[in-house]
């Protein structure tokens, strides 16, 4: 089940995580599927990581290489541009989603293509490329099995890695019977995969333009890399005569050698395999091999906002493995839709609000979608300290509310309460008077030494926890009495 709501990257107000989570939590099928998937991958990942004695050294290198890249991103992007051009590719720069969409649609139109084949790419989902192409009369065929399922169902992804995790085999069979023009089909995963193979093979062999994302782009050589399992990535990047790759500017790594780190970190963290079935590396255009025209579109779309926050910047280290999703107790229960972004889970909770900017109710609610348990940080292959950034962003959200909304911000009840608290804690006499007042005020509430329910605005605090009442006598009062008694 999906809600018809605009996602976090859409203009205007979007719902909060806490509202959407209620819908997801009520869907028992979804919870069962996500729970099973998360647990399964989590356990396998631990085994795959255990096999490498130098895992921590690899993580540290993975983090450090990204830090070096991000601190000198302009330098490396210019180097990448030059390398790709030298290798026969063309480089485009896109400030935002609209510009990227325009560039990609323009390339398709130049080749009179009314359809393109696509390999799963979150960046193209972020800019809503398929919708844009559709509006220009160009049909984008998703070729990843899960992406095909949700495209045919008209839904959104619920997991970075296994986007159709919320669908069971019977539902997929129904979707294929309607969408793939087949007459008879069982619900055996093997038969379902075969049906998709036959349907998509025709598309691969006839498409004029392929569209991909990029897992990595190498500044030194201009090499672009796509990591995948099914072979649809190889198909899309090899068979069509023209290839367009959309790459976020943070997907850059400085040298070819750096693959020795990331090609160890990514597969084990992602699918818990020693290595994923297929990885393609191409460098511009190779004569007589694969597409003879290659376009690389470099996308900003808010990434420089993230870069500008010294503490939040590390979110750009992300190599999209999805280990943090599977580790997260919140994600395990709500699934991806509650995050209302192409980037769900813990990484999405720090990436989305930074990409779209603080000050929108939907994205602003994401840093609170966490118990701060830290499991995400432990499994992150590039050591993004997600809990640290979550807390930092909560601070930014609050400060923005206090300053940004004018009078409404100043008179916000939480803000007013916090201001009074701050004054009270700063003044010992005021603090003691408040304690006395609280003792009188709490009398009707404190049953058997515990407050179970606070009234009015304060009830939110006690909805999920009890409160200790203010004690009969404070330490200071006791100390004073004791001294007076002795004296």
């Amino acid at each position: 089940m999906t809600l018809e709501v605009p996602d976090a990257f859409s203009p205007g107000k979007t719902p909060k995580f806490q509202e959407l989570a209620k819908v997801s939590l009520a869907d028992t099928q979804l919870r069962r599927n996500i729970g099973k998937a998360a647990r399964g991958i989590r356990e396998k990942r631990a085994v795959a990581v255990e096999e490498l004695p130098d895992w921590q050294e690899l993580r540290e290198a993975g983090r450090a290489i990204k830090e070096r890249t991000l601190r000198h991103l302009d330098h490396y992007l210019l180097q990448l541009e030059e390398s790709v051009r030298k290798a026969g590719g063309q480089v485009h720069w896109a400030r935002d989603a609209e510009e990227a969409n325009r560039i990609i649609a323009g390339i398709a139109r130049d080749h009179d293509a009314d359809e393109v084949v696509k390999v799963k790419s979150i960046a193209t989902d972020e800019i809503k490329l398929n919708e844009h192409l559709e509006s220009e009369g160009i049909k984008a065929h998703e070729t990843d099995l899960a992406e095909l399922i949700i495209q045919l169902a008209g839904e959104e992804s619920s997991h970075i890695l296994v986007p159709a995790i919320h669908k069971n085999r019977a539902e997929i069979r129904e979707i294929f019977l309607r969408g793939l023009d087949v007459e008879d089909l069982s619900d055996d995963p093997k038969d379902l995969a075969e049906a998709a193979r036959l349907y998509l093979r025709k598309k691969f062999l006839s498409a004029k333009v392929g569209v991909s994302g990029a897992n990595f782009g190498v500044a030194e050589t201009g090499t672009v890399c796509v990591v995948e399992s099914e072979g649809n990535g190889r198909m899309c990047t090899t068979l069509p005569p023209v290839l367009v790759t959309l790459m976020g500017i943070e997907k850059l790594i400085p040298t070819w050698r750096d693959f020795e780190v990331y090609m160890q970190l990514l597969p084990r963290s992602s699918t818990a395999e020693r290595m994923n079935p297929y990885t393609s590396f191409w460098t511009g255009v190779s004569e007589g091999d694969g597409p003879q025209e290659f376009h690389l579109v470099l996308l900003d779309n808010g990434r420089t906002n993230v870069l500008a926050d010294e503490r939040g910047r590390q979110a750009l280290n992300c190599i999209r493995c999805s280990a943090c999703l599977n580790a997260c107790p919140v994600y395990e229960r709500t699934g991806g839709h509650a995050y209302n972004s192409v980037y769900p889970g813990p990484i999405g909770a720090i990436l989305t609000p930074q990409l779209v900017g603080i000050g929108k109710p939907g994205p602003d609610s994401l840093p609170y979608a966490s118990s701060l348990c830290g499991a995400c940080y432990d499994v992150c292959p590039v050591k993004i300290n997600i809990p640290e950034v979550l807390i930092h962003l909560r601070g930014r959200v609050v400060r923005n509310q206090q300053s940004g909304d004018g009078l409404a911000g100043t008179l916000n009840p939480e803000n007013v309460a916090m201001q009074i608290m701050a004054k009270t804690f700063a003044d010992p006499a005021l603090y003691e008077r408040s304690q006395k007042l609280a003792r009188i005020g709490q009398w009707p509430l404190a049953r058997s030494g515990t407050i179970h329910r606070l009234p009015g605005e304060l009830s939110g605090w006690t909805r999920t926890r009890d409160l200790k009442p203010v004690p009969e006598k404070s330490f200071r009062e006791w100390w004073r009495e004791r001294k007076n008694g002795e004296g």
Partner: protein, 219 residues
Amino acid sequence: MGTARETILARIRRATRDVPAAEKPEDVPVERGYLTEGADAREAVVDRFAEYVAEYKATVHRVDEKDLPRVIAEALERRGVEKLVIPAGLPGEWVPEGVETLRDGEDGSQLTNGDLDGSDGVLTGCSLGIAQTGTIVLDAGAGQGRRALTLVPDYHLCVVKEDQIVDLLPEAIAQLKGAVKDAGRAVTFISGPSATSDIELNRVEGVHGPRTLEVLISG
């Protein structure tokens, strides 16, 4: 407002104002404390490669080099291959008689995608094998062909020589640098046949690439 390129570069420079102007990329320390070379004996490395490739549901045979032509012929016959795709530069003695060969890249001519789709399989060598991950590496060199050759046919028979197998991934990345940096050739990592776990996390071998991968390790 300038071009998108100028705007993005200006945004990046503004966003990284905290980075001292004198700092060079190499000044940001990158500690490479991980393993870059394996310590195991040759035989153990080759054994591990065979074991890990087989774990991906690929069929693996250990072959004496002089028996290669016979074993190749047997494998093709078992599979029922009649039309076999042959990349340029493949050792002539590997190609058995009695099979229709579709040769790519000879006299500058290329097979069409339709030819490849209508074939029964492809026979290639490789650039490298990686024991640590059970990976076969193709770099479009002699006897491997362009990428489409090992992608469109449904059956891939691949010969890996023992001395092409390295232990750890970093050793492979180092060896491939020339093919990428100097020659600009495409590189493909193959670890088992194509697979998906998209339906209820059930693994299904073979979606778009060759659904059957057979590997002959020759020593």
